[in-house]
């Protein structure tokens, strides 16, 4: 362990701003990317099922005629 206390660790030998900025931006941008990537799949499946319902309605309409 290189640091004696938590404040010492957070202080990063005076470079706190730069170090935590880097780590912060990294975590934030990766989290955003992962969030959107994971959500993508659900969104696509919902879209497909909506499209299927539309097609069902279309078919029903046509057979009524």
């Amino acid at each position: 362990m290189q640091f004696d206390s938590l404040t010492d660790f957070l202080n990063m030998g005076g470079y706190a701003f730069y170090v935590w900025l880097s780590y912060g931006i990294t975590v934030f941008s990766l989290a955003t990317l992962i969030f959107f990537s994971v959500r993508q799949k659900r969104k696509i499946l919902i879209e497909i099922s909506k499209k299927m319902q539309r097609e069902e309605r279309l078919k029903a309409n046509r057979s009524n005629q």
Binding site: Q2, Y15, V19, S22, L33, Q40, L45, M52
Partner: protein, 248 residues
């Protein structure tokens, strides 16, 4: 000789296979990055020249090296898609592009945040930062070309060609930027001197590089699966999945 490739090209098989691989990649990525970052931030010794600011290295260098590797991976799968006409490979290339762009962006930002305490300015036209910037442009080109086509099957092919053209150019760009840099800016502090690194610093760095690679792999698999579903919306097996999801 390349027949085995085609058996994995079947969308459903590719979807299932990447589903099996995903948990492994994700778990290992979290484990590696966790160990590497904690080691790097808490236990690695202080650099005698740069103080604690050097701890940015544990994300900057993995991001920088993986940004190049991701481009290579993208171009390789685009090449497979182009030569053997495998659509899944084109889709994989399209899935990697945004991830590569984010990783390149991270490499740029962390490079700048490191440059400020070291050089006193956020941006210098250092060879590594400049070629990262160009690499970001190349990624953005692939992404926006992909986004501009309405037919995504074509979009993936067009983006694939661009990725291959880019990969031929990357070494030339990198070389010319380095040469240009040596011409205009002799003797800046090199921000990474790998050879002089103590092993206590090197190990967490290597662990993190590996972890970043696994993480990119994991996110690629997630995006690749979504891409397969989106392109195969009319196939019965996708419709089954959609039925299960849509009712919720």
């Amino acid at each position: 000789m390349w027949k085995w490739l085609h058996s994995y090209a079947d969308p459903q098989r590719a979807y299932n296979l990447s589903g099996t691989l995903l948990p492994w990649f994700a778990t290992l990525a979290i484990a590696f990055i966790g160990v590497g970052s904690v080691w790097g931030l808490l236990f690695a010794p202080v650099d005698y020249q740069q103080g604690d600011s050097y701890r940015i290295i544990f994300i900057h260098v993995p991001a920088a090296s993986m940004s190049m590797s991701a481009y290579m991976a993208m171009a390789t799968s685009a090449f497979i898609g182009l030569v053997w006409q495998i659509k899944s490979a084109d889709w994989a290339a399209a899935a990697i592009a945004p991830i590569g762009a984010v990783v390149t962006f991270i490499a740029l930002i962390t490079g700048a945040a490191w440059g400020k305490p070291m050089w006193g300015t956020w941006w210098v036209w250092d060879a590594r930062l400049t070629s990262e910037l160009v690499l970001l442009f190349l990624y953005l080109g692939v992404i926006s070309l992909y986004a501009s086509f309405e037919d995504k099957v074509l979009a993936a092919r067009a983006a694939g060609i661009l990725a291959i053209v880019g990969v031929i150019n990357i070494p030339i760009i990198k070389y010319s930027v380095e040469w240009w840099n040596s011409l205009h800016q002799p003797a800046t502090i090199k921000i990474t001197e790998k050879s002089s690194m103590a092993p206590e610093m090197l190990y967490p760095l290597l662990i993190n590089i590996f972890g970043f690679g696994l993480m990119i792999g994991a996110i690629t698999l997630v995006r690749f699966r979504a891409e397969i579903l989106a392109r195969n919306g009319m196939r019965p097996w996708v419709r089954e999945l959609a039925k299960a999801e849509g009712v919720k």
